[in-house]
């Protein structure tokens, strides 16, 4: 398979197809975490439309050659959303779909948090929050130094933005004028102990990023058209990094999980799996 042509590596599905893929990924997330008996469905479901848009429309990558040096990178900084990443990787062809139900089992290549050592296509080991943006700045700078035209996409949680390192990295990305980097904040409003505004206020988030020197775009993180427009806009921004603040709903797509913080780090039981899958038909 040729690995030099950019466009041949990009899947670029149309919006209606992307919506179907997103539903498939959501079903995987429910089945995987249900089978595992643990895991993080809430923040995986909130990020599903973002991850779907990236993997099935934007990313130039080659699942048959995960280390292709010219590939675009998707870096999952909120490593607990591993289920949505695994679902996207499996649907892309990095590994067989049959592996998904091994999530979190002893010896599985699908670890509880994203692990670049054992899962093909995972770019960074993550789970201890706040590190992915810094890592992405490094990957983006390396691309510039190596005269590669790849883009780096990094997905952060909103709660993750409590971590001071996120802002160290934000400062550095603007200082080094890293414009081949697009960060996305999965702004679902909830963190483990409750609503962000009650646990640790993040607002005004838009102004925070702007004041750190970023180009800021706000979208409905479940509207694929808006996401596509935002990603396109980001590609044309030069001399500064772009952040897309994606307003999302934790647990999106499953009524009893939506905005329910209980499902941050709890898997659905057998009955809930059945109910959820019915809603995702």
């Amino acid at each position: 398979m040729p690995v030099s042509s950019d466009s041949s590596m990009r899947k670029a599905l149309p919006v209606e197809e992307l919506e179907k893929v997103a539903k498939k990924l959501r079903r995987h997330i429910i089945i995987m975490t249900g089978k595992a008996g643990s895991g993080h469905p809430g923040g995986s479901l909130s990020a599903t439309d973002i991850v779907t848009t990236i993997y099935f429309n934007l990313l130039r990558h080659n699942p048959a050659d995960p280390d292709w040096p010219d590939r675009d990178r998707f870096i999952l900084s909120k490593g607990h959303a591993a289920p949505v990443l695994y679902a996207a990787l499996a649907e892309s062809g990095y590994f067989p779909l049959e592996e998904l139900p091994t999530l979190r089992k002893l010896g599985s290549s699908l670890q509880g948090h994203a692990d670049s050592n054992v899962t093909p296509g995972v770019e960074m080991t993550a789970g201890s929050l706040g590190q992915g943006l810094s890592f992405s700045v490094g990957v983006a700078i390396a691309g510039r130094l190596n005269s590669k035209d790849y883009r780096v996409y990094v997905l952060l949680g909103d709660g993750e933005c409590d971590e001071g390192q996120v802002w160290e990295a934000a400062m550095a990305a603007a200082h080094f004028k890293v414009d081949n980097l697009t960060a996305i904040v999965d702004n679902n409003g909830l963190q483990i102990d409750g609503w962000n505004k009650d646990v640790m206020s993040l607002e005004p988030l838009n102004e925070k990023w702007k004041s750190f020197g970023w180009h800021v775009i706000e979208v409905d993180g479940h509207n694929i058209n808006q996401l596509l427009d935002a990603f396109k806009e980001a590609e044309f921004v030069k001399g500064q990094p772009t952040v897309i603040i994606a307003h999302t709903v934790k647990g999106k797509g499953v009524s009893f999980m939506e905005n329910n913080v209980d499902f941050h780090g709890k898997a659905p039981d057998a009955e809930q799996v059945e109910l959820a899958l019915k809603e995702l038909e």
């Binding site: 590190q131 810094s134 890592f135 990957v139």
Partner: protein, 313 residues
């Protein structure tokens, strides 16, 4: 008196040579380039030098990202800040994936001096050696420093190299060849072995010379690689001399003392004494005053040797 050279000065110059040889070498610092001596590299290769400001967590994680995309990043600051200030980043972003990041830190140990306890790294080796995958080196002089830095650049995987602030005597000749995981016998001896690292290597040689005059034949071994440690050299010391003293500018817990004792206990137990900082923080003072007060002089090594010999069977 042997010629004295600052290992960090050697590091800075070696980086420039490496930069000329390999375009993939990149250097990061956290606002201390004039002290870590990465300033030389910054001057010659500004496009490959990244001052990350006073943000060590960010610096080491950017280094991880650079390494994941094929670069060979050297990240430098004071030993007290890396790994202490960013231990989790070093653990998760570098060590877990065994990324090709070279952490070269300066101002290790008490000999930092007047800056006081907050700036005296005495637990860094304990932290960094606890991480699977890291190669940990504490060179004994400038010649060894240059070679260790070159080795780190050419060998895949994460490295931690710890250097002192002060100038130290040159111990080796130019034909010395550093090898990862290989101890170096600097002085033969049959009564006892002193295993030393960093600035304590010169002190150990001085102690051995004094002890020889008192009729004690002391072997001196430099153990530049703390991890992976030279188990064979420790076994030989235990077998052939029957007693071991370790000497380091670090807490007794978790550094050279622990590593050597662990290997000896497993393979060939022998009585041991440890010249190291006891379970305490130090304070401001001149380097010489601090080394004396906290028991890190040639005289302390001599006393430890005499003590361990009393227990030798």
């Amino acid at each position: 008196m042997a010629e004295e050279v600052a290992m960090r000065e050697v590091y800075g110059k070696t980086l420039v040579e490496l930069g000329r040889e390999n375009p993939d070498i990149v250097v990061l610092d956290a606002d201390l380039s004039a002290s870590t001596m990465t300033k030389y590299f910054a001057k010659e290769f500004p496009e490959r030098f990244f001052d990350c400001g006073i943000a060590e967590q960010n610096m080491v994680t950017i280094a991880a990202g650079l390494a994941s995309a094929g670069k060979i990043p050297f990240a430098s600051t004071f030993a007290v800040f890396v790994p202490g200030r960013c231990f989790d980043q070093v653990r998760v972003s570098i060590a877990h994936s065994e990324l090709n990041v070279k952490l070269v830190v300066t101002h290790g140990g008490l000999s930092v001096g007047e800056d006081g306890a907050t700036h005296q790294a005495i637990e860094d080796l304990s932290l960094i050696t606890s991480l699977p995958g890291f190669t940990v080196i504490v060179p004994g002089d400038g010649i060894e420093t240059a070679q260790a830095v070159r080795t780190a650049a050419s060998v895949q995987g994460p490295f931690y190299i710890r250097l002192p602030r002060l100038k130290t005597p040159i111990i080796y000749t130019d034909d010395y060849k550093f090898e990862i995981g290989k101890a170096v016998e600097l002085r033969p001896g049959k009564d006892v072995t002193v295993i030393a690292i960093g600035i304590m290597v010169a002190a150990a040689l001085e102690a051995a010379e004094n002890l020889y005059k008192e009729g004690i034949d002391c072997r001196v071994v430099n153990m530049p690689t703390i991890k992976p440690i030279d188990e064979a050299a420790i076994a030989r010391a235990a077998e052939e001399t029957g007693a071991i003293v370790t000497a380091e500018e670090h807490l007794e817990h978790g550094g050279l003392a622990s590593a050597v004792a662990q290997v000896a206990a497993k393979n060939h137990p022998a009585p041991m004494e440890f010249v190291a900082v006891k379970d305490t923080y130090a304070e401001s003072g001149t380097p010489a005053e601090l080394l004396k007060k906290y028991g890190l002089t040639a005289d302390d090594i001599e006393q430890a040797v005499k003590k361990v010999l009393k227990r030798k069977k």
